[in-house]
Subunit: 714 residues, 2 copies
C-alpha cells in the first residue's frame, strides 16, 4: 500500500514559510506566529526577499539560501509566485507544501491553468501538497499549527478534514470554549494534489484521532472515498456534513473551492455505504464528533436520565425516544436506592428528577454512580449539574445578606472536589453526556469539559449526541461489506449492445433490454417478439393466456399513454386485435412483445444513474405510480455487495410492504438483493449504458419480476 | 368576552410572599429577593410567623395582619399549608396567587385531592391562581420577577408560557447571554386554575409581546387552544415545542406536572390548525421565537448571503434551499457595485464571499446596505462580522510585535462606531440574521444583540431562523379559517344509530355505515342489501354489472381475508355464486351488500379517532395497502373548515398523486374537502361514535367515492 503523504506532511522536522513578514495583521505573519508561539519544536525558516529577520527569526532571501531543504514549506504569496516557489523548493528537495494562496481553479479558466501548472511542477519534483486555497494544518501532538489563530491546551482526540478552511481556523475559539480538541486538522482547499480522501485515510490510520469529522462540499473520487471510509468505520467512527446537495449549495461550493457537488440523496446512500454518520450542521459535526471521539462506545440502547427539572428531563426522554434510544423504567430495587437521595415528591423511575437542589454532587456523582452500578442502562444523560453558574447569577441578589462576602469567597464555599465527577464513563465504560444551561462560568461544566465529557447547552442536543453513539454502534455491528467480484462480461449482452450501436439506437427496445438483463440473471418476464398477428397469437399460446401485448420500439416512450399497451388479453382474438390496434396507434410496422401477465399488488422499481465523481449508482424504491408521487427511493454506488442490497430494502419508508403484508407473502429478500447486485454490475461491465430504469418490478408470490425495462445508451 | 385573569395577576400593585425568610439559600427567599432587587416598584409584604423583618422589609405574622389585601400573593410553603393560606388571603380580598409549592396532582392520589380542595377554596373566594408546582412569573415592563434568578436589562419582546418552570428560570442567564429578552413569562405548573391556554390568550393580547413561545407537555382543552391560537396567529407569531409525543416523553411529563399527552402526529395537526410554528428543541423555541419577536416580518423568499468564508456561506445557502428559501444570483448591476469592495478572486454573485478580511464594517454595513438598497432580496444573512473576538484570540501571538500594547488598547484601535451596524432591518424593513463563531467577546456580536438582531453560533442556525420567519409569512398569508356551522343532526342517521344501539351493536355494518355517511352527503357507493341469491341478482341488475358482493355484518372484520368479498362479478351467475360462497364462508345466514365496481388506481383513506383533551380528530391520507405501509397521513381536530380540509390534501407526502397524474385527472379537491368537512361533523353530532374508518376511498374519474366504511360505537 502506498504511504499516505499526510504522514510526512503532518510531521515535519522543519518548516519554511514564504509570505510572513513583521506586520502582525498580515495573514502569512499570523500563520508563522502560530508556528512559533504554539510550541512547535522543529526548525523554522522564514523566507523573505528583503527582511533580515522575521518575527525574531533569521530570514532567508530565497529557498536556495536555506541551510537545509525544509521538510515542509508553507506558501502565503500572490498566486503568480506559487509555481516558481514550488519549483525552487522542489529542486532543493523539500517534499511537502501547504499552499494557502487562493486564486486558482475556484476563480475560473486562468486560475485553472495556473493550478494545472502547479500540479505538474510539484509532480516533477515528487513534492506533495495541500491546497491551494486552503487554511493550513494542525497537529496538536507536535504543537504544530499552521493556521492564523492560536491553538492551546492538551492534544485532542478528534481528527478533522475540511473542504472549508474556516472549520479548522475561525472556529478554534468556538471549539476551545466547548472543550472540543482536535488531534489533527487538515484544510484541503482546492485538492489539486492531496484530497479529502487522502485526509480521511490518514486520520483513519492516525492513532491520536479517535474519531474523524469531515466537512464536505463535493467528492471527486467517490469509489475510493467509499472504499477508504468503509475500512475505517469498522473500527473508528467517521461523521460528515455535506452541504453541496441543493442547487444553492452546489453553486456556492463551486465558487468556493471549485468542488463538484452531487444530489443530497446520492450522498445519503454514499455515507451509508461508507458507514459514515451524517449530520446537517457544523455544530453537530463537531459536538457529535467529539462525543464519538471522547466517550466509551455505547453498548446498548438503554439510557438513564437524571435531571434537576422536569422540563429538560421530559425533553431528553422524548428526544431519546425519537432517536431510537430507550428510557426504561428503573427496577424497584434501583428506585429504592435513589429515593432517599431525592425529595419525597420527586420522580425516581427514570427520568430521576431531583427538582431544585443545591448540592450538585448528588446529581452529578452519587445518583449516576448508583445507576451505573445497577447495570440497568447503557448510558447516562444528566441535566442540571451546576453550582458556580447558579451562584454567580444569584450573587447580586444575595450579596448583602451574606455580609457582602466577595463572589470568589462565596464560590469557594460551593467548591466540591470535582476530580472524580467526570470519571464515571471510564470507570463503568458507559457514555455520559451532560446538558446544562450554564457555560464555562460553571465549575461543573468546566470540570466535565476538562475531562472530556461533552456538555451541551440544551437537553435535546445531549440526547442527540447520545444517539450519534447509537448510530455508530449500529454501524460497528452491521455485517461487513465484502466488495463483490464482478462477473465476466456476457457475450450475449455485448452482442445486443453492439447491434444496437450499429443501428444507431440511443436506447434498447424493451425486448433487447430484457434479454440484456436476463443475460446477467435478472428475473424478467418470458417475452416473445412478434412481427405479425399470427406470430403474436402463437407467442400468446406459448406464454399461456392471459398475456400482455406491447409495442416494442427503442424510439417510443410512454407506451401506455399512447395506447401501445394491451393488458390481460385472454384469447387469440384479443391478441390479434391488440396487435392491429398497436400497429395503427404506432403508425408504423413495429413488432410487439407478448408477455405473460404478472399479478402482484406490490410494485417496485430499480434503476441506474451516473453521477460525476461516483459513476453509476443504483436506485431502489416503490414503483408504479408511486415512484413519482412518493419518491420513496434509496441510492447506492455500484457495485453493490449483498449487505448493501439488503440494506436498501430496509431503507425505504415503505419497507413494511416488503414483509408479510395483508395476506401476501414476504418478498424474497435474497432474490431481490440478487437482482439489485446484478443490476449494479451491468453499467460497470458496459459503460456505454448511461441509464437503466426497471419499472415496474412486480412481486409475484414472493418473487420480484421485471415487467418493463428501459436501457439508455451513450 | 371574559377578561383573562393574567391581566390582573401579571400587573399587581402589591405582592405578598409567604415562605421567604432571611436564609438566602432558601427558594422562597430567592424569589422574594427577585421582587425586591430587580426594580419592582409596587408594595411588597413578606409574611412570616416569627421573623420581624424579612430581607429588610417589615414582616407580617399572617395575612390578617397586613395593612391591605395585596393584589397578589406568592406561596412557597409546604403543600399542607397552601389551602389554608389561600383561604386566608381570599377572605382578605386578594384576587391572585402564584403557588410555587409542589406536591399536588403530579405526585398521585393524595396530591390530587389536595389540589381539588385548593381549587374549591380559591373558587369560593373568586381568587385566580397559577400553579401549584410552578416557578413564578416575569413582567419586564414592571420589573416584576417572581423567579429564583435575577432578571435585568431592557424589557423584552418575547412572551413565554411554559409547562416547565425551568424554561422561565434556569435559562435566564442562557437567554441574557444570547440577547433574548422576555416581555412576560409565565410558568403555569399544574394548571389547577389558570392554564397554558389562558397564558397564550393573555400573551396574544399583550402589546409588549411581539411573539409568543410555548413549551408544552400536554394540552387539556384542545378546542379552546386551537380557537385562541388561531385568532392570535393571524397577527402575531406563536411558536411551540411539544415534548409529550413519545411514550418516554409522556411518562416523564406525567410525573412532572401530571400533564396529559397525545401523540406527536396529533399535535402536528393541531399546531397547523392553530397557525403555530412547531420546533423540536428549546434552543429553536427561544431563538426562532426571538427572531420572530425582534425582526421585521419577511416579505418574500429571496435571501442574500454575505460571508467572510466560503464554507459557512455554502452551508447557509444549502440550508436556505432545504428550508424553502431562495438564494438568487444577483443582477450584474448589483454585482458591479459589490465587486470593488471585495478581493479580486472573491465571489460577488450571492453568496458574496469577502474571504479573510479585517475591516468588518464592509461585511456588516457597506455591502448589506448596497444589497438592501437594490431591492433584490427580502432578507439578509451575514456570517463573519467580527473584530474583537478575533483580536482577542490572536492577541497572545501578536502582543510583543505591537510593543506589548495592552489588549484593551489594541481593541480600541479596532473599535468602529457600531451604532448604525444593526439598524439595517428597520431602515429597510428587511430581516437580518447573523452567524458568528464569536460570542459576547466580540463587539459585533454584542452590538447586534443589543439592538435586537439575532446572532447564532453557526451558519445553519441563522438560516433556520430566517426560515422561521418564512413559516410565519406563510401562516399570515394563508386563508383565514372560518369556524364551520355544524349542520342539523340527521334524523336518518339518528335512526340508524338508535337501531344499532337497540340491537347492542358495537359497530355499524357496512350498509348502515354508508347510509349514515350518505345522510350527511358523503359520496358512498350506491349499495343494495340482499338477503337471498335472488335479491342479490336483482340488486346487481339494478346496480349494473360488474358488481362487488360482500358479506354485511357488524360482527365481521377483515372480510377480504375470510373470503367474504367477491369483486368484479360480471353476470347473474357470478353474483349468485358469490352469494352462496359468502354464506358458506360466513357460516351464518347474513345478508350481503351488492355494490357497483368502482375503478380507480388512487386509493385514499379518511377516518375519525378520539383523543383526550381534543375530542374527535379527522385523519386523511393514502389508502389501501399503503395506509399501513407508509403511514402517509395527516390529522386535524374536528370540526374542519374548508381551508383545513384543503390543507390536509397538500399535507401528505403523496400530494402529487392528487393532482393530474399519469393521464389521470386531478382529484376534485372541493369534493374531497367537502367529504372531509362532513366527516368531521359526524362525531360531534353523534358522540356515541368513537371511531370511523373510510378505507378505501377510490378516486373515480376526478371524484372520491367511499368504497368501504367502518363506524365503531361506544
Amino acid at each position: 500500500m502506498k504511504k499516505n503523504p499526510l504522514h510526512g506532511l503532518m510531521t515535519p522536522a522543519s518548516v519554511a514559510v514564504v509570505g510572513a513578514n513583521n506586520n502582525p495583521m498580515k495573514m502569512g505573519t499570523m500563520q508563522a506566529l502560530s508556528i512559533i508561539k504554539d510550541g512547535y519544536r522543529g526548525r523554522f525558516y522564514p523566507v523573505h526577499p528583503r527582511e533580515k529577520t522575521v518575527l525574531g527569526h533569521r530570514a532567508y532571501p530565497s529557498a536556495a539560501d536555506l541551510p537545509e531543504a525544509p521538510d515542509l514549506v508553507m506558501l502565503v504569496v500572490p498566486p503568480d509566485q506559487v509555481n516558481l516557489l514550488v519549483d525552487q523548493f522542489g529542486s532543493l528537495g523539500t517534499r511537502y507544501a501547504v499552499i494557502i494562496t487562493a486564486g486558482f481553479r475556484e476563480t475560473g479558466e486562468t486560475g485553472r491553468r495556473l493550478e494545472e501548472e502547479l500540479k505538474q511542477t510539484a509532480a516533477r519534483h515528487g513534492l506533495r501538497f495541500l491546497g491551494p486555497n486552503c487554511m493550513g494544518i494542525i497537529n496538536t501532538q507536535l504543537a504544530l499549527n499552521l493556521t492564523v489563530l492560536p491553538v492551546s491546551g492538551e492534544p485532542g482526540l478528534l481528527g478533522m478534514a475540511s473542504q472549508s478552511g474556516t472549520y479548522v481556523t475561525q472556529t478554534l475559539s468556538y471549539l476551545r470554549k466547548r472543550g472540543i480538541r482536535f488531534s489533527k486538522a487538515v484544510s484541503v482547499g482546492n485538492e489539486a494534489d492531496i484530497n479529502i480522501v487522502d485526509a480521511l485515510e490518514y486520520l483513519g490510520e492516525d492513532e491520536d484521532s479517535r474519531a474523524v469529522a469531515l466537512y464536505i462540499e463535493g467528492i471527486r473520487d467517490g469509489a475510493r472515498f467509499i472504499e477508504v471510509a468503509r475500512k475505517i468505520t469498522r473500527h473508528k467512527p467517521v461523521i460528515a456534513q455535506y452541504v453541496g446537495g441543493s442547487a444553492a449549495g452546489a453553486r456556492a461550493g463551486a465558487s468556493h473551492t471549485g468542488s463538484m457537488a452531487g444530489p443530497d440523496y446520492l450522498y445519503d446512500g454514499v455515507f451509508k455505504q461508507a458507514g459514515i454518520i451524517r449530520v446537517h450542521s457544523v455544530e453537530d459535526l463537531y459536538s457529535h464528533g467529539w462525543a464519538l471521539a471522547s466517550l466509551p462506545p455505547l453498548r446498548g440502547k438503554r439510557i438513564a436520565v437524571v435531571t434537576n427539572s422536569g422540563g429538560p428531563g421530559t425533553a431528553i426522554a422524548n428526544t431519546c425516544d425519537q432517536e431510537g434510544l430507550e428510557v426504561p423504567g428503573f427496577s424497584d430495587a434501583l428506585q429504592e436506592k435513589i429515593r432517599p437521595l431525592i425529595p419525597g415528591h420527586a420522580a425516581s423511575g427514570n427520568p430521576v428528577d431531583l427538582t431544585f437542589h443545591l448540592d450538585a454532587q448528588v446529581i452529578s456523582t452519587v445518583i449516576p454512580g448508583i445507576i451505573a452500578e445497577s447495570g440497568e442502562v447503557d448510558g447516562i444523560i444528566i441535566h442540571g449539574a451546576m453550582s458556580h453558574g447558579f451562584m454567580r447569577d444569584v450573587y447580586p441578589h444575595i450579596k448583602e445578606m451574606t455580609g457582602d462576602i466577595s463572589l470568589e469567597s462565596l464560590l469557594k464555599r460551593f467548591e466540591p472536589d470535582l476530580t472524580q465527577t467526570a470519571s464515571l464513563p471510564w470507570q463503568y465504560n458507559l457514555p455520559l453526556v451532560i446538558s446544562s444551561f450554564f457555560d464555562s462560568e460553571d465549575n461543573y461544566t468546566t470540570a466535565y469539559r476538562e475531562r472530556g465529557v461533552p456538555v451541551f447547552d440544551s437537553p435535546e442536543k445531549a440526547a442527540r449526541a447520545m444517539a450519534a453513539l447509537l448510530r455508530y454502534k449500529e454501524i460497528r455491528e452491521r455485517e461487513k461489506a465484502v466488495l463483490p467480484i464482478l462477473p465476466k462480461r456476457s457475450t450475449q449482452a455485448e452482442a445486443i449492445l453492439q447491434e444496437a450501436a450499429a443501428r444507431g439506437q440511443k436506447a434498447l427496445d424493451e425486448y433487447q433490454a430484457k434479454k440484456l438483463l436476463a443475460a446477467y440473471g435478472l428475473p424478467v418476464t418470458a417475452d416473445y417478439l412478434a412481427k405479425s398477428a399470427e406470430e403474436a397469437q402463437a407467442a400468446a399460446e406459448a406464454v399461456g393466456y392471459p398475456v400482455a401485448v406491447k409495442a416494442c420500439s427503442h424510439e417510443i416512450l410512454h407506451k401506455t399513454e399512447r395506447g401501445l399497451v394491451h393488458l390481460n388479453c385472454k384469447s387469440a382474438e384479443a391478441v390479434r386485435a391488440a396487435f392491429s390496434a398497436i400497429r395503427s396507434a404506432a403508425g408504423a410496422a413495429i413488432p410487439v412483445i407478448v408477455s405473460p401477465m404478472i399479478r402482484g399488488e406490490r410494485e417496485l422499481t430499480a434503476g441506474v444513474t451516473w453521477f460525476p465523481g461516483f459513476g453509476p449508482a443504483v436506485l431502489f424504491g416503490l414503483g408504479g405510480v408511486f415512484t413519482e408521487a412518493l419518491r420513496d427511493v434509496t441510492f447506492r454506488v455500484a457495485p453493490l455487495c449483498r449487505e448493501e442490497a439488503e440494506e436498501m430494502q430496509r431503507d425505504i419508508r415503505a419497507a413494511a410492504l416488503l414483509g408479510e403484508f395483508r395476506g401476501m407473502p414476504a418478498v424474497n429478500k435474497v432474490k431481490l438483493a440478487s437482482l439489485l447486485e446484478a443490476l449494479s454490475y451491468i453499467p460497470l461491465l458496459h459503460p456505454e449504458i448511461t441509464e437503466m430504469d426497471l419499472n415496474p418490478i412486480l412481486v409475484s408470490g414472493p418473487d420480484p419480476v421485471i415487467v418493463d425495462a428501459l436501457v439508455v445508451l451513450s
